[in-house]
Structures are given as C-alpha cells and as structure tokens.
C-alpha cells in the first residue's frame, strides 16, 4: 500500500535526464513512478496517485489520454508537460480535463511549484 503522495509519469521511463530532474523535484512532495502510455489506465485504476504527469512528446493523443485517465479515476489530477507548448494544445488538454499544461523544464523549483499548485487547487470539472 502506498503511504506517501504518489505521482505517476506517463509515457517516459525514469532513465532519461528530464524524468530524473522531475523525480528530484518531486522528492520533497512524494514519490514518482513511471509507466508507459499503454499501461497508464490500468495503473491508475489499481493504484492511488495524486497527480499524473503526461509527457506530451511520448503520448499519441494527449486529449484522449487525459480524458480517459480522468474518467478512470475522477480524483486524479493530470498535468501535461511539453517541450513545445502551443495555445491550441493547451486548450485541448485543459478542455479534456487537465489541471495544467506546462513547459518541460530542468528547473526543479519551477516543476515542484507547478505540481504543488495543482495539489493545492480544487479538482477541475470533469472533461466534456
């Protein structure tokens, strides 16, 4: 059973640089786990994760995935992270139920603060 706040990185493993930075950034808040896009839905259904962080570059259809994750686990907050943000994709992700859409960064403080805001904010409405 998970006893600390659990975060789930979707689409990317923990071996690359950025996921390691993310892991360090979130370590004061909880523990980061990683899972592939294919296993994400099953994983959130079986576990108890506070936030799912979706790597937009490693996922085939961000809005669909966000919508499915929220449908599978309505209490889950989903944050989409991308190296090349656009307003249209930001809109699609948030319309689908994402709590935030942020730029991929190596700044640990930035990453931690964004996730902390999401944790502290009431859940968004369910996707349309």
């Amino acid at each position: 059973m998970l006893v600390e706040t659990a975060f789930l990185l979707v689409g990317t493993g923990l071996e690359a640089l950025w996921p390691l930075v993310l892991q360090r950034a979130l370590s004061p808040l909880g523990k980061l786990y990683a899972v592939s896009e294919d296993a994400a839905l099953r994983t959130v259904a079986e576990g108890s994760y506070a936030v799912a962080i979706v790597d937009a570059s490693a996922v085939s259809d961000v809005p669909v995935l966000v919508s499915c994750l929220r449908a599978r686990q309505p209490q889950l907050r989903v944050v989409v992270v991308t190296a090349s943000p656009t307003w249209q994709r930001a809109r699609e992700a948030i319309r689908a139920g994402a709590a935030d859409y942020i730029r991929k960064s190596l700044d640990e403080e930035y990453l931690r603060s964004r996730i902390q805001v999401v944790l502290d904010t009431p859940l968004p409405l369910a996707s349309n």
């Binding site: 307003w87 994709r89 809109r91 859409y101 009431p122």
Partner: protein, 671 residues
C-alpha cells in the same frame, strides 16, 4: 433560449459591432462594452448570462495588457461564465483563463482566437450555455396565486434600494436564479413567504421533476453575500445528525446579485409550516410554551452538545460582538444622544412616559408613579455590568426569532437562517428568542404593560424560577409564560444563575434600540418597540450594575446598615448588594417588616414557611420548624452578615425567636 443575454467586451469598435450583429442574428441579446469600466458597469447593472471578453482591453499593442483576463478573474462576477476571445492567444493565457480555479471554477469556460471565426464562437457559446450557464429555460415557474410573489415584488423585498430602471433586469435575474436552483425539474410552484428581513426572504416551494413525485422545499433567497455566508455557516456548524429534525441543505445557486438555498425539512409537509411569530399569535400560551420546549430540547439539542467549553472571559466581554461594528465604536456621548433622540421621537409619536437624563431613565406609569432606572449609555461599552467568568460557550444558532423558527402542523420546530451560527455564549439563543418575543412578536401592548412585563421578569432570581403572571393582562400573561418557558429551558443548558443571562438580554435590547435612526420618522407602533427596548436596557442596568455605581442613588441606610428595596426586590447591606434565594428573601422581609421586634419561631414557621400546625403532631412540627428555620437562618446570616459567626443584624432571642436589629450595636448575650 428566451432572452439569453451576452455581454460582449472588446476595445476594437469595428470587430465588436460586426461580431455582435452576428450574435444578434443568431438570437442572442447583446450588450456591448468598449472598455473594462463599461463591462463592469453592465455586469453590475444588467442581467448577463454569459460574458465574452477580450484580453487586451486597453491597448492591443501592449502584450502586458491583460485587463480582460483580470476582469474574468474578478470574484464579484464569478457566477457569470466567460469566454475569452482574443487576437493574441498564448498558451500562458490559456492556462490563466482555463486552468487555475476560483473557488472550484476556472475564470473562463472557454478560450478562442478571433481568427477561428464566428461559427466557432457560436459553438463555444452553445457549449457554455449547456454546461456552465445551466439555466432551465423550459422550467414552468408558477409564482403563486398572490401578487406578492411576483419577481419585482420579491426583488423589492430583498433589495428595497434597487433603482427603478434596474428593477426589470433584477426581476429577470431572480427568475434565472430559480431556474438554476431547480434545473432538474419541469415545474416549480412557489407557495408563500414564510419569513423575511432586508436582504433575505424564505419561501415555500413545490418542485415537480419530469417524472416522479412532488418534492417540497423551503427556499432562502437574498443577497448573494448573505447566502454565501449562510451556506458556509451551515456546512461548518449545523450538526449533521439531528435525527428527523435535520434541516438538509439540498442545493444552492447564485447569480451576480442573488443567492438561493433550498432546504428540506425531513418528511414534513412544507405547506403546514408557519413562522414562530405567526404561531404565537394563533395559539394559546400552553401551545407556544410546548413549541419552545421542542425547539430547545429537540431541534437545537444536538447543537448545544457540540464543542462546549468554559471560556475565561466574562459574558459581557463576549456579548460585545453581538452589536454591529458601528455600534461598538459609538462614543458614550453619541450613544447618550441616540438614547435621548429615542425619547424625543417617542414623545413626538405619542408614546408617553419615558424621559432621560445623562445617568437616568425615568418611566412614569399612567397612575403617575415614577420608576427610576439607569441610562444604559455609560454601561454598554465600559463593561460596568460585571459578572464573573468563566462563561459557558458552544455552538449557537445566533439569531433565533419569530422568523428563523418554523413550526409545523404537529407543533414541531425547525430552524433556518444560519448566517449567524457559530461559537459563542450558549445563553445567546435563549436571550435572542426572549428578545424577539418581547420586542417583535408581542403586539397591541402599550408601553405601560411592557414595563410591567419587564418588571415581573426582573423579579426572577433564578432562571428556573417561576414567573409571577397573576393579575397581568392576557397579552402580558402570555408573554410572561412564554418567556418563563424560554428561561426554564435556558436553565437546563447554562445553569440557573440569572445575571449572565440578564447581561445577554441587555446587549440584545441595545442592539434593538440602536436600530433607531434619528433621521427617519417612525410610527407609534415602531416607537413603542424602540422605547420598550431602551426601557428594558435601563431596567437591566439597574439590576446588574455594581453597587459602587449606584450608591449615589440609594438611601443612606443602604450604605451604612441593611436596606431592602421593595420595588426591585433587592437587599443592600453596608453598600453591598446581596442576592438571596426566594425563600431567604421572604424570611428577611418578614424580619425587616418587624425590625427590632421579636419574631417567634412559631410565627416565622407559619408566615414564612407555611407550616400549618393544625394537622401535624407537635413533636414532628417542632422538628420541621427546627430544620426549616435553622437551615434558612443559617443561610441568611451567611449571605447578609459581615461576620456570620458574630451576627449584628439577625439576632437570636434565646427561647423565643429572632429579631432583625437595624442598629450597629449588637445586643449582648443574645447568641
């Protein structure tokens, strides 16, 4: 969607006009604003269902201009869904508009680029109306068969100061509120107004889903901020389990100016409930007293079990909060002037009898007798009505009165209006209801009778004591019985000591008479109430104020010896006011009336303790006399004598009885 109204705000005049025309052709009513100020004005004054806001409302060339987004984030208009329509979309703006939440809602419900065209805007608006505006345009609203339930009338009850030119929009907004509140239903019928005060009304409502049985509600409706406070207090303080007396908050809704909460009263038939004030007038004292018992023993019982604690402050310090912030800050001189103004206004309105000076209130009864009391101005803010801590505190309703208590057809009670609920002295609810009975509910009773009511109530030495209603007029007798019942219930919760309770009444009375505004003119009936409240405060001050403040009013005997103030049932010993039990007072009075004379034990037994010797064996009578008299004499000496071990006032005459000596020289060998 009949009358769907859009606020369209954009500083581009041409774009605004062109796009607005398109929307009007699509069937929407469009209000146009070229700047943020105009947009705010329209949000404030008009009936707006959805707002379309540009981001750069001041300068299109300034990428730092996010004035439109700031308006979207304004909490005052959070209940109006917004669509951001901008010519300069960025992902940061999308995040700000759609991401962060205000109390659970994002600042905007959608975000569009102007270049996406008018059709995209129409689609976004249709989504917004379906998902965010959530007004049931098809709801059949029956406004009752009486004119008073029409929307403009209800708006005037909630907001009497609404300008006429805004009344139609506000009436439409009130209707929108009901269509939001009963979104899932096919029809709602409003019954009657159950309660009202400025900014707040309560209605019965009967809602009919498309399929299924009728559902009955009590709907509180009023200024948005009042209903937000009420809902927050309900969720924080109302016990979740009050048995079948649970008043359930089932749904709420808000618009820019109004809020509404729908409650259900268990399985009770809402058509049969009446406000307590109405019940009082329609039923005899016994029935009203039974309702009082039900209110405190059943409906509110679980409230008083929560979070009880003894706070180390005297009750008068805690009661200061019952006055409004303006009243608390009133300097004594201004308070005195307000009181003098009430006396003048009363005289002008034909309410005779009360006059005041800086330190006194004098009431002259119709028979010419003058009763002197204290002007409460010096006492209300200086905590000179002194009681001792601790004060028993807990969760109270905070505003029990004739409107906030409903009575159903079986005499069971339900409370509403939770906006003042929270922690405080437990005596507050009882003092509040007593105040309501005396000042608001009591009708057709002149000032002299009200004075008599107060005088008899002040005779009570303990909350559990019996009120003397004998010989009173029917209305006064009814008031005394009901208030007596309230006090009896108070004794069961806060204990029998009456002085802290009287302090609570003082602040309740002050709150009432401080509602008098010198610049307004009032009817005679209104002035009777204000004057009664002022008189009550003066009488309470006289009862409560520490002896140092009153000595100048008392005869020399009170300061140097033993004196009984018969009118006020008070005992003074060498300048100290002494509290006695009813029996103790009776015994002392008997001796006092025969001062310096021998009172035999047999006479005391017969006249004070009603011990009739005819049916009792002499030996047994002796035992009873001894027990009663000895016990009460002992208590009396402990209360009265400066040195109970060496009495100087109540002396024993060996073998005979007792005498009260009103001199400072004790007799030798009498003890």
């Amino acid at each position: 969607m009949a009358e769907a109204t859009i606020l369209f705000a954009d500083n581009d005049h041409d774009f605004l006009n062109t796009r607005a025309e398109f929307l009007e052709q699509a069937g929407y009513r469009v209000l146009k604003a070229l700047n943020v100020q105009e947009a705010r004005r329209l949000l404030e004054e008009a009936r707006v269902h959805l707002a379309i806001l540009d981001i750069r409302m001041e300068n299109d060339d300034d990428e730092r201009d996010t004035s439109g987004l700031a308006l979207a984030k304004d909490l005052d208009y959070r209940c109006v869904p917004k669509i951001i329509l901008t010519g300069f979309p960025t992902y940061q703006a999308v995040r700000e508009a759609l991401g962060p939440v205000l109390d659970g809602l994002p600042p905007a419900v959608d975000f569009l680029d102007k270049r996406e065209g008018p059709e995209a805007l129409i689609q976004a608006m249709e989504r917004a109306f379906a998902q965010s505006v959530r007004i049931n345009w098809g709801l059949n609203v029956r406004w009752g068969h009486r004119e008073e339930l029409q929307p403009p009338h209800l708006v005037s009850l909630i907001s009497p100061d609404v300008p006429m030119e805004w009344l139609a929009d506000r009436a439409g907004e009130l209707e929108d509120l009901l269509r939001k509140l009963f979104y899932e239903y096919g029809q709602v019928t409003l019954g009657r107004i159950l309660a009202r005060r400025t900014g707040w009304i309560v209605l019965s409502a009967f809602a009919y889903p498309p399929q299924g049985p009728e559902e009955q509600f009590v709907v509180a409706c009023g200024h948005g901020i009042n209903l937000q406070t009420e809902e927050a207090c309900y969720r924080s303080f109302v016990p979740s389990k009050a048995g079948d007396r649970t008043v359930s908050l089932t749904k709420s809704a808000e618009t820019v100016h109004f809020g509404a909460i729908a409650y259900q009263l268990g399985r009770r038939v809402v058509e049969e409930v009446t406000p307590f004030a109405e019940f009082y007038h329609q039923h005899a004292a016994d029935a009203v007293a039974a309702v009082v018992d039900d209110l405190f023993q059943v409906a509110l019982h679980s409230w008083y079990e929560k979070e009880r604690e003894e706070r180390g402050q005297p009750v008068e310090a805690l009661c200061q909060d019952w006055l409004g912030p303006d009243e608390r800050e009133l300097p004594q001189a201004e308070l005195g002037e307000r009181i003098a103004g009430i006396c003048r206004a009363a005289l002008a309105a034909g309410v005779m009898g009360l006059s005041c000076s800086p330190h006194k209130l004098v009431f002259r009864t119709p028979d010419g007798t003058e009763h002197a009391y204290l002007n409460p101005a010096p006492y209300l803010h200086e905590e000179r009505v002194a009681t001792s801590p601790p004060t028993l505190c807990g969760i109270t309703h905070g505003r029990l009165d004739g409107e906030s208590v409903l009575v159903d057809g079986t005499g069971q009670t339900w409370v509403l209006d939770f906006g003042n609920s929270g922690p405080g002295p437990l005596l507050r609810d009882f003092a509040s209801l007593e105040t309501a009975v005396k000042f608001d509910v009591l009708q057709g009773v002149g000032l002299a009778e009200r004075h008599e009511l107060e005088r008899r109530l002040l005779d009570m030495q303990h909350l559990a004591g019996k009120v003397d209603a004998e010989g009173a007029s029917p209305e006064v007798e009814k008031g005394l019985r009901v208030v007596g019942q309230i006090r009896s219930q108070a004794a069961g919760v806060v204990g029998p000591e009456i002085e802290p309770y009287l302090v609570g009444l003082l602040f309740c009375a002050a709150k009432c008479f401080l509602c008098h505004r010198p610049e307004l003119r009032y009817t005679k009936g209104e002035m009777v109430v204000f004057t009664h409240a002022l008189l009550s405060a003066g009488m309470l001050c006289r009862r409560l104020v520490a002896w140092e403040d009153r000595l100048e009013d008392l005869p020399t005997q009170a300061a140097n010896s033993l004196w009984i103030d018969v009118d006020n049932q008070e005992v003074w010993v060498e300048g100290r006011r002494v509290t006695l039990t009813p029996q103790g007072f009776r015994l002392l009075k008997y001796l006092y009336d025969r001062a310096n004379q021998l009172c035999t034990r047999a006479a005391i037994a017969e006249h004070v303790f009603d011990l009739d010797s005819s049916d009792v064996h002499p030996t047994e009578l002796k035992l009873m006399e001894r027990d009663q008299i000895n016990t009460n004499l002992s208590r009396l000496r402990r209360a009265v004598e400066p040195n109970p071990g060496h009495p100087k006032y109540i002396l024993t005459v060996r073998g005979s009885g007792y005498k009260l000596v009103l001199s400072n020289v004790p007799s030798d060998g009498d003890n």
